[in-house]
């Protein structure tokens, strides 16, 4: 039997508001507001980057300048003023953290508040953690242990300096800097992120985890993640995200690239809880993210996401199934409440023969929110015998919210099999009454029903993350039935 978590839920339900809304008082080093070539040079210089990377940034910037912001997504928001954003903010530090003991106590406090205790993690769960606050990666635990296996797990900046050949070879190979408006912007101004390399035949013995945190006001966060799984290797990677409560909208535009070589497997899980804005839709994070992975022969990439935060989300973790027999999976729960808007889904590009993809998307809309699933299943000419199964379910909590499904299917090979199922339902008064007649309070009944509804997705998450996600769902939907 799975451990029982509803009791813990009850305690968390007492805290109705966004509990990660605090600001950490650490000295922050920033660059001047605005975006131009000088700012990019400054960022690059601060990070002691090699010339090729500066060139890559400048090239990306010139591409970006020629692009316009996309507006095909089913979201409405005030376009960010790109010249009013600070593109680099770092907790001030005089020396590099050599060990966990060197980390600023304020920073440790922040992590504790976020529920990440490095010591605890080290002792109990064996999860290696990287922590990215604003633009800089603060601490990476477990580095030494992983090193023995030849696994590299470090901040993106460290990777640039210590493993430039790997970064140079793979960066931009999955998401080119010309891919889209926000990917181009990220390629120009990205500051930090995580880097992970699993050598041939190695099964990473622990979950690798990164927590992203926006702290400073007026800044954007542009992180970059690159995960490379060499032939026959395996890695499970988790990311968690939070941000302080601010009245302004903050921009988060990340790029995540995954490469799974022959017979490799990458499991990538996200619990996204950026500040969603207040009840009236003021503030909140704009989350415009490009996530994509390439699968070589018989490789597998599995994306699992639980999205509860952000004012506006625009995100489509995708798989390019290039190698024969490769597998792509996408499991998603997206919750929107109040005035949140989410346009999220996936792209499964079947290039190789006998490639397989599975899409399970569960959207939950409450308040006045808008929740859209947008997905593309593309079967190319040579993808003989390929299969896709998609299931997109929407659950409505109120009469004022919207749920939309935009499934696109393009099939150029007649031997392919594509199945698509979709449902839309309103949370049942009868279900709630049934639970309450058994003595269960309304709040707990909602969380029970919603967690049941999302079970297929939550089951994909590693245990600690699944518990966290269940709590988040309950908190996000507090008092939302109407």
């Amino acid at each position: 039997m799975t451990p029982y978590t509803e009791d813990e839920l009850a305690k968390d339900l007492d805290q109705q508001d966004y509990k990660y809304g605090f600001v950490t008082d650490v000295e922050t080093e920033t660059v001047p507001v605005g975006l131009n070539e000088d700012i990019i040079r400054l960022i690059s210089a601060k990070k002691n980057e090699p010339d090729w990377l500066l060139e890559y940034r400048l090239n990306s910037f010139s591409i970006w300048k020629k692009m316009t912001e996309p507006n095909w997504a089913h979201v409405k928001y005030k376009k960010p003023q790109f010249q009013n954003i600070t593109y680099y903010a770092a907790p001030k530090q005089t020396k590099k953290y050599e060990s966990w003991d060197d980390v600023d106590p304020e920073m440790k406090e922040t992590m504790t508040k976020l529920g990440i205790s490095m010591d605890e993690q080290k002792r109990l769960t064996g999860v290696a953690v990287d922590f990215v606050m604003d633009s800089v990666s603060v601490a990476t635990s477990f580095k030494a242990k992983l090193k023995e296996l030849g696994i590299i797990f470090c901040s993106f900046s460290d990777a640039v300096l210590e493993h430039p050949e790997l970064v140079r070879k793979h960066m931009g190979s999955v998401v080119p800097n010309s891919d889209n408006f926000y990917a181009a912007l990220n390629s120009a101004v990205f500051t930090d992120g995580s880097f992970c390399y699993i050598p041939k035949g190695v099964r990473c013995p622990m979950e690798l985890s990164t927590y992203f945190r926006i702290n400073a006001g007026g800044t954007g966060q542009f992180e970059r993640t690159l995960v490379i799984a060499e032939e026959g290797s395996y890695v499970s990677y988790l990311e968690g995200c939070t941000a302080p409560q601010r009245d302004e909208n903050q921009l988060h535009a990340a790029v995540v690239e995954l490469k799974a070589m022959d017979n490799a497997e990458i499991k990538y899980s996200t619990v996204q809880n950026w500040y969603p804005g207040d009840k009236n839709g003021l503030g909140g994070v704009f989350n415009f993210v490009t996530k994509r992975g390439i699968c070589e022969k018989n490789a597998k990439i599995s994306w699992t996401q639980v999205e509860t935060g952000s004012a506006v989300t625009w995100k489509y973790p995708s798989c390019i199934l290039k190698g024969d027999g490769s597998v792509g999976e996408f499991y998603s729960v997206a919750v929107t409440n109040n005035y949140q808007q989410a346009d999220t889904g996936t792209k499964m590009i079947h290039l190789g023969k006998r490639t397989k993809s599975t899409i399970i998307s569960k959207g939950i809309s409450a308040g006045n929110s808008e929740n859209s699933y947008r997905g593309l299943v593309q079967i190319h000419k040579n993808a003989h015998g390929s299969r896709n199964f998609s299931q997109c379910d929407s659950l409505l909590m109120t009469d004022h919210c919207g749920a939309h499904t935009f499934p696109y299917i393009e099939c150029k090979n007649p031997s392919a099999q594509i199945e698509h199922e979709a449902t839309t339902s309103k949370i049942g008064e009868d279900q709630l009454f049934y639970c309450m007649q058994r003595g269960i309070s309304e709040e707990k009944a909602i969380s029970l029903i919603v967690n049941g509804y999302c079970k297929e997705v939550l089951n994909q998450l590693p245990m600690e993350f699944a518990v966290e996600a269940q709590k988040l769902l309950a908190i996000s939907l507090e008092g939302s039935v109407g």
């Binding site: 039997m1 029982y4 509803e6 009791d7 049942g428 009868d430 279900q431 009454f433 049934y434 639970c435 309450m436 007649q437 058994r438 003595g439 269960i440 309070s441 309304e442 707990k444 029970l448 029903i449 967690n451 049941g452 509804y453 999302c454 079970k455 297929e456």
Partner: protein
């Protein structure tokens, strides 16, 4: 246990209950019979706490408390249980998780500690036997993919797990074959004690072959028209409801 006094209730302006009175003591089993549309299920819904009804007159005391002052979940925690006529499916929520949540919510309201996993599982094993429910059903999602008979047995299983003071069975026999009917009846009988009571709402006499009531009431046109012992049920079976109607009109 429960006392209903002169209860008047309506839905969307239509009066369904028109001065219903009924008293049930601990240790008793009461059967409420009546033709379609007489208000049987309305009574069950109102007692359980459905909100769509307007109560214009009368009241209900349950264990000395004003029932209408209590929310649905508070009534359940006080020991009022409704076996639903149409049990609801809750996909993805296992029966055991559902029941354990319910038991702990009830315990918590009494400031008791949550039930231990061991205690809970032995309770599940013990109670699944009563209704001859396959133990695999206990770990499946609540009522999802259950047959009609399994759903009803699951209601009795939940009742056995929650050990209510007052159980209301709303047409639990409808749609059951004779074997399932016996199982359900055995379940109810084995749970009978001097401390609890049961109201069995039914259309047909056949359930009462297996659950022997202390009293049989005939509900007609929103009121209890006739009360008798178990022989009244047989009389109804034989003569139908028309003679009650006739008797009422004469009276």
């Amino acid at each position: 246990m429960i006392e209903i006094k002169n209860l008047h209730a309506s839905i969307e302006g239509k009066e369904i209950l028109k001065g219903l009175s009924l008293k049930v003591n601990a240790g008793e089993i009461h059967a409420i019979m009546g033709p379609n549309g007489s208000g049987k299920s309305t009574l069950a819904s109102i007692l359980a706490g459905r909100e769509e009804y307007d109560i214009s007159e009368g009241g209900v005391t349950f264990e000395g408390k004003d029932l209408f002052e209590l929310s649905t979940e508070e009534r359940a925690r006080e020991g009022l249980f409704l076996a639903f006529q149409y049990p609801v499916e809750i996909p993805g929520v296992s029966n055991v998780n559902f029941l354990r949540t319910a038991i702990n919510e009830i315990r918590d309201s009494k400031r008791e500690d949550p039930i231990s996993a061991k205690e809970f599982m032995s309770l599940v094993r013990e109670k699944t036997k009563i209704v001859e429910l396959d133990s695999s059903l206990a770990s499946r999602s609540v009522n999802e993919g259950f047959s009609g008979g399994e759903k009803k047995r699951n209601e009795i299983f939940q009742m056995a797990m929650l050990q209510p003071k007052l159980a209301i069975l709303d047409e639990t026999d409808s749609g059951l074959d004779i074997d399932a009917l016996k199982i359900v009846a055995n379940g109810v009988n084995s749970l009978k004690s001097p401390d609890n009571a049961c109201i069995v709402i039914t259309h047909y006499q056949r359930l009462l072959d297996h659950i022997v009531p202390d009293y049989v009431h005939v509900l007609y046109d929103g009121r209890i028209m006739k009360t008798g012992g178990k022989e009244l049920a047989l009389e109804l079976e034989e003569k139908g409801y028309d003679w009650i109607k006739a008797e009422t009109q004469v009276g």
